[in-house]
Structure formats: C-alpha cells, structure tokens
Amino acid sequence: MMAVGRTGGLAVGIAAVLLTAVPPIRLAAQDTSFIDRGVRVGIIYRPGVRPGFVLLPRQGSGLDSVRAIVARDLDYSDRFEVITLPGGDSIRLATSGSAPLPPPPARGQARPATGGGAQAAGLNYPLYQALGADFALDLTLTGDTTVVTLHDVAAGGVRRTIRARLSVPGSPDFRQAVHRVADQVLQAALGTPGIAATRVLFVKDGKVYQIDQDGAEQKLVSASDRQAMSPAWASDGRRFAYMEFQAGRGQLFVQEMASGKRTAVATTGKALDFTPAFSPDAQTLAFSRATEEGTDLYTINLKDNCCLRRLTVGRFSDNLSPTFSPDGQRIAFVSTRPGLPQIYVMAADGTDQQLFAPFDYGVTGSSNAPEWSPDGQSVAFHRDVAGTLQVFVLDVRTRTVRQLTSVGRNEDPTWAPDSRHLAFVSDRSGYRQLWIIDLDTGRIRPLLQQSGARLPAWSPRLPEATSSTP
C-alpha cells in the first residue's frame, strides 16, 4: 500500500518498460515449472506494489544463521521485493556511490548496538531509497540479546526495534524463535502477521511428519507403525488429529504436539472413520465414516468424547472430507450426489445442504479435498481436469472458481494462516512432493526435495515457545 508509487528508481523503471509489451496480469497466478530458490533480484511480479526490502550485511556479527533464516522468511512471505546488494558488499557499494554519508556497516560492526535512534542516524537512507528499498533491516548482537532494527527508509527513521534472547543455533527452539522474530518484523513493517513461525504436517510412507514452512527441521510425529492418513491441526496449534488403519478399519486419534501423547477418539462400531477436521473452537471433530450405507459425515464432542452425531444421510451417495468455516457456522464437504464428487456446503448442524463450487454437469471432473481458508473468503480444493488433478480456489462470496495450477498433477491444497499461501502436492518436478504457491504473486517454491510426501496440513500460527520482547 504505502509503497505504491514510491518504489521508484532504476529497477522498477526497467521493469515497467519491459512490462509495457505484456498485458498486466495481476492476481492471476502464473503456474510454471520454474523452481525458484533463494533470493531474487529485481523479478517483479507486480511492479510498484511490493515494498523493497534490504537486509543490511554485517560480517562476523555471529548472527549468520539468524540472518539467513530471517532473510528467507521475509522472502518466502512474498510481500517484499527482497533486494540483494551487489556482491553482498555494501561498503564498496556505499563508498563508490555518490552519497556523501558513511556506509552503514562500517559503524556499529564491533560496537554494541546503542539503540535505534543512534543507528538510524548513521544509515544512508537516500542510498537505500535509490536502490528501491522501503525497509532496511539490521541485525546486531548485544551481549546475548539479538537486536533487530527495522528502518523505514522513506521516512528516514527507525520503525521498530525488536530485542530477542535467542538460544544457540541447533537447540530445539532456535529456528522457531527466529521465525517469530521474522514475523514481528513483518508485522512492524506492514501491520500484517506473518507465517514464518508455522509448520506443515504431511504423510510419507504411511507416517505423519512435520516440517517448518521454510523446509527445515523435518521430524516424525506419528507414534505407531500403523499406516496413518489425513493429519489435521487444531486451531490452537497444540494438537492434531489423524486417521490410522487398524485391521482395515479407520481409527481417529488426537495427538498433542508437545508431548506426543495421543488419545483415541471415541467412536462406535467397526467403521472406517477418516478425514478428521476440528471445529474452530476445537470442541468438535467432524469426520467421514464409511459403512455399509456408504460414507457420511459425523461429528463428535471432543471435550467429553461423546455425543456422536450424524450430519448427512447419503444412502446412494457418499459425503466426506469436511472442513469448517473459520466462524464455525458452516462445513464445506465433498458429496457424490451429482454422480461425481463435488464441493458442497451445509450449516454445521447438517441442515441447508447445497452445492458450493459450481460445475458443469457431465463436463467438470471430480472435485475433492476442500479446505476453508482461515480468513473465510475462499475454499481451496482440487479438481480433475482432463484426467489430472489441479488446484482450484472457490470465492465464497461470489461462488466462482479459478484454477491455480496447470503444470503436472496438483492436489490436496492446504492454507497457510495468511490465507494467501497454499501448500499442495505436485509431481511437476517428476515425483510427488510438497510445493507452496503464493496466490498474490503466483510464485511457487518446493517445500520438500523428496518424493512420496502427501496430504499436507498447514498449521495455524504456532503458540509461543520462547520469549522475545519487542
């Protein structure tokens, strides 16, 4: 917003010239098989819209890991043009420029940070503004405290100073604590919460794993050797539910993230229960149950482990894969009542069932795996297009759908808490693995570099585990 029209300078000028030949494509996602890794220089999807961001280089500050993680988090937020200084050497850059002010890293490098104001006094704002930066981030160490200073380049001052006591790199909380710092920076810069301190659960070889959103710290979380499917987060980020095959039946479990302790969800009979989904208040678990009559949706009261309730009576059709709206009032789900599976919606008590995602009867392929976005405005799902699956997004208000992907097979989308990123399964690189797409820019990146991962579930913003003071 604030950056519109201000991201001036040479880079944007060139981009604008280049883009004049191309019709301006904004919100339409550009699905390509291009694997985008690391920091980009001057690749502008929406010129002039995203604020430029520069991370001030500092050698020998002892914060290389923190710097690398924060830089990647801010890049992966897809909300900035991350500017890489040529050669990474801002001293030469600064002195060779026409700006008369002293280069920023020369000062304060060996000295402890003395506060935002003092630092700001030395930063060459016009220089960074000329480079297209709206924000500049400086990371320094004072004793055992990491001082994170966010400069508002255009305003010529410090926007926010964050102090955090980070554990040593490699300790269990380290990365999540750094991710929280990155989220605080994003919040300070744009007033929007980030998604750095989040994780994705997924299934591989029948087991549930977690991985940080930046692809680090993959860890096994399912507790047994039995085949597991369909992990789903509780909205507090402290628990998840999943299904496990037991002698051909499907048993649902709720597991605590911290302790790994799991509890079987009280169900009756010998049914196959699957696709669990928490209500937003985490009091209720909705799920699918396959019986002789077919598959239908049920809810159970998790708090008292009781009160099984049937929401659909399909008889000759199946109803499955529930997902709650964030206000808890509605449930989107898959129903085969039109013949092929399509996306339906109903009130959370099972009344008022109706078609949700429009389709052309006899033309549109099967639609499956809906997930309601955290902001309530969209439902992501996948749909069979010419024999392969593609990720779609339904606009809840207008009830229109748009196709997000077109390269390879793409399925099982799951929303990041910012409601603009989706993780999904794609075989675009030759084997099925997890990818992340940003709906605003269309940028796609791999989350994993290994095959066989599927059924991802993106966490909410995870509860604080370490202390950091703004």
């Binding site: 077919g294 099967s366 795996a369 399925e411």
Partner: protein, 206 residues
C-alpha cells in the same frame, strides 16, 4: 519272473513288504534241512513249488498294497487340490472401471462361483477389501474402496448369502497390488480382494 522284475521296479515300501514275505518263506524251508529220501526230495520239490507260489502271492499282495496306498495318497492330493481350487475361487479378485464401483458383467461369474461355494459351505465367512488406483483423490478413494467392497457384498447377499458372513473394508489406494503409474498397473489395482476369515477348513465342492 514278472513279479521278481516288478520287485526291482516298484518303490521302497513295496520292497520292504516283499522282504517280509521272503523271510517267512525261509523259515518254512528251514526244517527241511536234512532230506534223506526220494519222498523227502519230492517233498522238497513240492515245497519249493509252494515257496515259489507263496513268493508270487506275496509279491501280488505287496503290489496290491502299493496300489492301494498310491490310490489313497492320490485321492488325498486330489482332495487337497480340490480344496485349493475352492479356496482360489473364493479369493479370486474382481476389478473395476475407473472411479466406478459397479460389478462389471464379466466379473459377475467370478462372484457367482463364490455364491455357490458359500452356499455349499455354510460355515465359510469372508472379508471383502475394496481397493483403488492412485489416479483418484487419496481420501475420496477410501469412500470409493468402501463402495467397491459393498458392491461385491451386496451382489453376494442378493444371491442368497447371509450378510453376517461377509465383512467389508476399504484400503483406498493405500495397498496397490501392482506398482506402476500407467493404466496397466491401475487396472489391476482397482479391485476387490476376498479373504477367508472363518470356516475355511474342509471346504466342500458345490
């Protein structure tokens, strides 16, 4: 001559029987150790004829026993083969079209054979497991696999088999029969598997 040559040809069991006969024969001959007259010689000649006859009888008896035991083991093998055949008929898979759960007409005969065996063996209980290929949606395939298992069960029930004798389960696409990412593999993976879970001993032919 012939019995003697047979003795060499037939198996070990028959040879042991023949040896038993021979021993008995020697015992009969033993008291005749001191012949002192023509009468004795005549008796000895007669004895040797008897002995030869006895040997021949013995060999014939051995052969009969051999044949009988062979017949017994043949019929046991035949019975085992028959049971195996019944078992194979019970567990023969049926297959499905993509994203379909109706029993294909060409597979109805496979289920009809199961109906006959289930009717001839009232103790027999089976489990039907529905499976899918990897093309469809992972979670939807659990519902589809369930439909496929139910389709087979309903077919059997509609042909007179008590529903309580048939369990069903769905594995979705989680247990492919064949690895592979083409229609050749997929068509084999879209299937119902049948498993005997009770009363599978001494299966009777319908």
């Amino acid at each position: 001559m012939k019995p003697v040559s047979l003795l060499f040809v037939i198996g070990l069991g028959a040879a042991v029987v023949a040896a038993g006969c021979g021993k008995k024969n020697t015992e009969q001959v033993a008291p005749m150790a001191n012949p002192d007259s023509a009468a004795a010689a005549e008796r000895a000649r007669q004895d040797s004829i008897d002995a030869a006859r006895a040997a021949a009888d013995c060999a014939a008896q051995a052969e009969a026993e051999r044949v009988a035991s062979q017949r017994a083991s043949d019929s046991a093998a035949a019975a085992a083969r028959a049971a195996e055949g019944i078992r194979n008929t019970v567990t023969a898979m049926i297959h499905f079209d993509y994203d379909k759960s109706n029993v294909r007409s060409e597979d109805a005969g496979i289920l009809d054979q199961k109906v006959a065996i289930l009717q001839a063996n009232p103790e027999l209980r089976i489990r039907v497991g529905g499976h899918c290929d990897e093309r469809g949606s992972d979670e939807y395939n659990l519902a589809l696999g369930n439909r496929r298992a139910q389709a087979a069960k309903q077919y059997l029930v509609s042909h007179g088999i008590d529903a309580s004798r048939i369990e069903t389960q769905s594995w979705g696409e989680e247990r492919p029969a064949v690895d592979g990412h083409d229609e050749g593999a997929w068509s084999q993976n879209r299937r119902d598997e049948f498993e005997i879970i009770g009363g599978g001993d001494n299966l009777r032919q319908p």
